[in-house]
């Protein structure tokens, strides 16, 4: 990696001020919310913003507030999210945040930063000289997608852990700019495009994540990666369900991450659970339905066909955990830690 390129650094203390700077500077400015991904990317010349607008000093982005559900400031660090008492009922979020990178990076990286994480690809996440040796790629500085040479679309992979977890939970995201603010379902924040992967405009700041009430719901997140730390997901499965007293599923959501350029819901798989108890057969059916939507590409760690093959197993782990099975042994083998 090279050293960081030169940039101007701004550190406003309010969202309004940050939004004004972004509006004035235009697309050459980027917000930085932790920087654990952005700064290495800048060293590889993926992004070379003229101005970085730090969100670190903005206290309002670190707020946690109850209302109908829970509102989490996008500036909370992942470590803060993991240990936030009010967030404990949202199991999937805690498990997802706890499996991001390493403890050091979670101490710096933020919830908002993880949700806006750049898409990843083994042809893209390389230093400048390496990319020069392949004559660059569609995502940055080049014309060909080396993963799928006929593709007109960049297939870089969404690699956020928190997004599928929060989508399964039913979270909404709030975006604020100098001129307006809007709220949208978190799933709608994303495009299935490796380059234009976010619907966030360059002048907008992701300020809050709003979670619906957790009462009656259980949720979980399972992450496939090679090792117990550091690695981005090559498959993320988040599942949430509301159960009747007798164990019948009344409502459910299943979301997948790291198998497309965006995290997404699989409504058909969730519908297969509703009105039923989570028997092995029901779980197997939903797992097959969910896994059929996983479209991994040869641009990440581990064998592509194997990743596709085990998607159903991972959905199964998640649903069995929702059912109340003791999954600690499996979790320990897969995640190398009890979560």
């Amino acid at each position: 990696m090279m050293r960081l390129p030169w940039f101007e650094f701004r550190a406003p203390s309010s969202v309004a001020e940050a939004a004004r700077i972004l509006a004035a500077e235009g697309p050459d400015a980027m917000p930085i919310a932790g920087g654990t991904d952005l700064l290495p990317n800048m060293k590889r010349r993926h992004q070379t913003p003229r101005t970085l607008v730090s969100l670190r000093r903005i206290e309002s982005l670190k707020k946690v507030s109850n209302g109908a559900g829970l509102t989490l400031g996008a500036g909370l660090t992942l470590t803060e999210v993991i240990h936030e008492p009010k967030a404990q009922p949202y199991g999937a979020l805690r498990q997802a945040a706890a499996q991001v990178a390493t403890v050091h990076l979670r101490n710096m990286g933020t919830l908002g930063g993880n949700l806006c994480l750049d898409t990843r690809c083994t042809y893209y996440n390389q230093n400048y000289e390496w990319r020069k040796a392949i004559d660059f790629c569609l995502k940055k500085d080049g014309g060909i997608c080396w993963v799928a040479t006929a593709s007109k679309r960049c297939v870089a992979m969404s690699s956020t852990d928190c997004a599928p977890a929060l989508i399964a939970i039913g979270a909404k995201a709030k975006l604020v700019s100098a001129t307006d603010e809007r709220e949208l379902a978190l799933e709608s924040l994303y495009n299935n495009d490796g380059i234009e992967y976010l619907k966030r405009r360059p002048d907008e700041i992701l300020t809050e994540i709003r979670l619906p009430p957790a009462a009656g719901w259980r949720s979980t997140y399972w992450k496939l990666r090679r090792r117990g730390a550091f690695d981005f997901p090559v498959l993320g499965v988040a599942a949430a369900a509301r159960f009747a007293k007798d164990g019948t599923v009344e409502e459910a959501r299943i979301a997948l991450g790291a198998v497309a350029s965006r995290p997404f819901l699989v409504p058909k798989a969730a519908e297969a659970l509703v009105g039923k108890k989570l028997t092995d057969d029901v779980i197997a059916e939903a797992a097959t339905l969910a896994a059929s939507r996983a479209k991994p590409m040869d641009n990440a760690d581990l064998d592509l066909y194997w990743r596709k093959q085990v998607a159903a197993d991972f959905v199964g782990y998640a649903l069995r955990e929702l059912r109340g099975d003791d999954m600690r042994g499996t979790r320990l083998r897969i995640a190398r830690q009890i979560l």
Partner: protein, 809 residues
């Protein structure tokens, strides 16, 4: 013994954990400049023109160097001096250095690199050994037997075909061991400067300052006496800093040209390009056995993917076979090997140098043999374990050999008898063994001088200084040196000041490679310490009017063996000696015994002693996904004698980690883009994030046992521990997977997708195996024929001069 064998904080431990150790990148000198290298973006090309004029004009740039500034080649082996510090007319892999910019800071260097214009003419690329064998033109190098073959060799010790023909069974297996890199946490750095007297000094994170010193003199065309190489403490070596490297040559030249200090720190990507790591090796074992599991003969063929330069390749090629006969009794042995050139970063020595690959094949095949013969693999190995004080078929002299005890220890502690083939489906145990050398018997360049020298200084202050060319690469050699001197002189290890790895101050030691330092430096240190002790004893004995041999040295005192109350402080004894003899000093040196083999190629493999290891790995395999978990590893190592248990245990656990990493994850692999669209052949992921190696969370519990059977050739009987314990880990893992789910993965790394594929084959009734399917036709030469010791030979060849093989190391 007061020091040897006692657990102690290593002498350099405090400085390391408090950040006081000065690594190469910590060195900052007045008026220092910085350097960066421009590396080739093409895997194979001719350089038609280089224009550096724009770079030279950039403000802050002091100097731009290119290939024309370096007419002389270098290379660690005298037979393959095939590297230029900067490529002049040809680049051979993505990352081959082409030009250097020296400027006021790194940022300016980087900007200037972008201004250098290089015109390349692309050449056909060679990505694999199979392609190398099939491609006669273009040749990556103009030397070597022919085409893109770097080395070819063949040796036969006894008639192996006859042995196989008369065996009860013959097993034939093909295995593949993927290449991988050292992954030292410190990235290499070097600082060159002019000394006050005008000579050159190079501070560098090198494992082998002596060889680097020689190569610098050659490349810079300067007398070696005007060059001083200081090996800074290495943040891990593992073989990755054994070769003299391009950046070391170029930074030295730049400092000479500018008369100012110049520093270079490699980026992580560059470390992947410098490489010199584990060779990918395809190997074929044909092994004959009797019904009761005794070996009758092995015919081993290996094919190495060498990458773009020779590096240690000539030696690596030997090591893919020569240690095969050192673990078990083997009456006959035939070994054919071939190293090819490819357009990838050069491979070289990594922990175990060339031997982990065939050890993997051999130990997995033994597991298959035991299965077929209905024998317990531990029992079978115990029966055939090599005997102490014996010769092998290829004329290696085995001294102490604690393999059997190692096997007994891991069998006992792991509960092997209750677990093997008895654990529930999905869980299993596997066992494997190994032997390794304690230092190469011959140096890299032919000479009759010592391999290690130690000089001791002592004066009236009571201080003892030990000087040696050996290099502290994290393995603890400074601590071993202090401990050995301290033990002899009866003082504490912390009372010995060590000064190592400085060609301007310390006696020559060949370097930290080949697991040689404890044995060779240790023998030299004891000799020097005994000489100093004799002088001190002579002077001190006069005080008590006894013979010097009636004195004892212990606890910082010199006293009468018969009456400990009569004595003096060690410092007082030194004063007496300094008064009697003048300035005190002593030297010691060591050269290994001449090897018994006398055939061409006999220089690779001999060692003063061999260490032995046995390992049991337990695994859990998920049948639905192939996911692998390793809860525990038991390992017993025949170390001869432990010098410092804290260090020794660290070396074993570190070896287990590295072996497991190679078995499960690590691979230095490459991508070739679609040839219609691109010429690219690039390292798949030159980054610490995507080149996967286990984290602390992925490490199993490791139970370490030392078997101590002191070897008479070794200092206090101590053998090596730095490399040997790595070797049995990968095959033990593969064997455990078979025990768990009944599938054979005959190639490394063993990943869940391969396990699942093998399980699917098993379910379909096919052979439950994933691994290489065939071994290509390789034009091996007629073998050098040498009768084994028990067939009436004298260690000479009786047929076939073989290829010119002068450089065993």
């Amino acid at each position: 013994m007061k020091v040897i064998g006692k657990p102690r904080r290593r002498v350099d431990g405090w400085a390391k954990v408090t950040g006081r150790t000065r690594f190469a990148d910590d060195i900052v000198l007045p008026r220092m400049l910085h350097m960066k290298l421009l590396r080739s973006p093409l895997p194979h090309a001719e350089i038609e023109a280089i224009d550096v004029s724009r770079a030279e004009k950039l403000a802050g740039v002091q100097l731009v160097l290119t290939g024309k500034d370096f007419p002389v080649t270098f290379g660690i082996m005298p037979v393959s001096q095939d590297e230029y510090p900067l490529a002049s007319d040809r680049v051979r892999f993505v990352g081959d250095p082409v030009a250097a910019v020296i400027a006021r800071d790194e940022q300016t260097c980087t900007e200037a690199l972008d201004l250098i214009e290089v015109k390349y003419r692309p050449l056909k690329t060679i990505a694999t050994p199979e392609e190398a064998l099939a491609t006669t033109e273009p040749r990556i190098h103009e030397y070597g037997p022919h085409g893109n073959i770097h080395r070819l060799q063949a040796h036969e010790f006894g008639d192996v075909e006859e042995a196989l023909g008369s065996s009860d069974y013959v097993f034939e297996d093909v295995f593949f061991y993927e290449g991988n890199t050292h992954l030292a946490i410190e990235q290499q750095a070097a600082v060159a400067a002019l000394e006050d007297a005008g000579g050159l000094v190079l501070y560098s994170s090198t494992q082998n300052p002596h060889y680097l010193h020689r190569e610098l003199a050659r490349v810079l065309q300067m007398p070696a006496s005007r060059i001083r190489v200081v090996a800074t403490p290495n943040g891990g070596g593992f073989g990755g800093r054994c070769d003299p490297a391009n950046h070391e040559m170029v930074v030295a030249k730049a400092a000479l040209a500018l008369g100012r200090p110049v520093k270079i720190c490699l980026s992580r990507e560059e470390v992947f390009y410098v490489h010199r790591g584990r060779h990918p090796v395809l190997m074929k074992f044909r092994t004959g056995v009797t019904k009761d599991g005794r070996l009758t003969g092995i015919h081993l063929q290996t094919l190495l993917d060498g990458g773009a330069y020779g590096s240690h390749g000539a030696a690596s090629t030997f090591y893919t076979g020569v240690l095969t006969p050192t673990t078990y009794e083997l009456p006959r042995f035939k070994f054919e090997a071939c190293r090819t050139f490819t357009n990838k970063p050069p491979c070289g020595p990594k922990r175990g140098h060339g031997t982990p690959q065939p050890r993997f094949g051999q130990e997995v095949q033994l597991d298959k043999i035991a299965e077929k013969l209905g024998l317990d693999p531990a029992e079978m190995r115990l029966r055939i374990a090599v005997k102490p004080n014996s010769l092998t078929a290829n004329w290696l002299r085995i001294g102490s050999a604690g393999l059997a005890e190692c096997i007994r220890q891991v069998v006992e502690r792991s509960g092997w008898k209750e677990k093997f083939r008895k654990l529930p489906e999905g869980r299993g145990v596997g066992l494997a063994c190994s032997a390794y050398m304690c230092g190469a018997g011959l140096p890299i360049y032919w000479n009759k001088m010592p391999h290690s020298g130690v000089q001791l200084l002592a004066d009236r202050s009571g201080q003892v200084t030990a000087l040696c060319g050996a290099t502290e690469i994290g393995q603890g050699s400074d601590d071993v040196l202090a401990a050995m001197v301290a033990e002899v002189l009866g003082i504490g290890a912390e009372d010995v000041r060590v000064l190592t790895g400085d060609t301007g101050l310390t006696p020559v030691d060949l370097g930290s490679y080949s697991s040689r330092v404890t044995v060779m430096m240790g023998n030299a240190a004891i000799q020097a310490a005994e000489a100093l002790k004799a002088r001190i004893a002579e002077a001190a004995s006069e005080q008590f009017q006894v013979a010097p041999n009636r004195l004892e040295f212990a606890n910082g005192r010199v006293f009468l063996a018969a009456d400990a109350s009569k004595g003096m402080a060690f410092r007082e004894a030194i004063e007496l000696a300094e008064a009697k003899f003048g300035t005190l000093g002593s030297v010691g040196s060591y050269r290994p015994p001449d090897p018994p083999g006398r055939y061409k190629g006999a220089g690779a493999g001999p060692s003063p002693a061999y260490s032995y290891t046995a390992c049991v790995v337990e695994v859990e395999v998920d049948r639905a996904t192939g996911w692998i978990a390793v809860p525990k590893i038991w390992i017993a190592h025949d170390i001869g004698r432990v010098i410092n248990p804290v260090l020794a245990r660290g070396q074993v656990v570190g070896s287990v980690y590295m072996g497991l990493a190679e078995a499960l994850m690590e691979e230095q692999v490459f991508r070739r883009l679609p040839p219609k669209l691109s010429n690219a052949l690039v390292h798949k992921f030159p980054s610490l994030l995507e080149y996967k190696s286990p984290t602390s969370l992925d490490m199993p519990e490791v139970e370490t046992v030392f078997v101590e059977d002191p070897d008479p050739n070794c200092p206090f009987g101590a053998k090596e521990v730095g490399q040997g314990p790595l070797l049995p880990v990968p095959p033990a893992l593969a064997n455990a997977i078979y025990d768990a789910v009944g599938v054979r993965i005959d190639e490394l790394p063993i990943t869940p997708d391969k396990v699942l594929r093998a399980l699917e084959k098993k379910a379909k009734g096919e052979e439950p195996r994933v691994g290489p399917e065939h071994f290509p036709a390789v034009p091996y030469p007629e073998p050098v024929v040498v009768p084994p010791p028990w067939e009436g030979g004298d260690g000479n060849a009786v047929k076939g001069a073989g290829p010119k093989v002068k450089v065993p190391a």
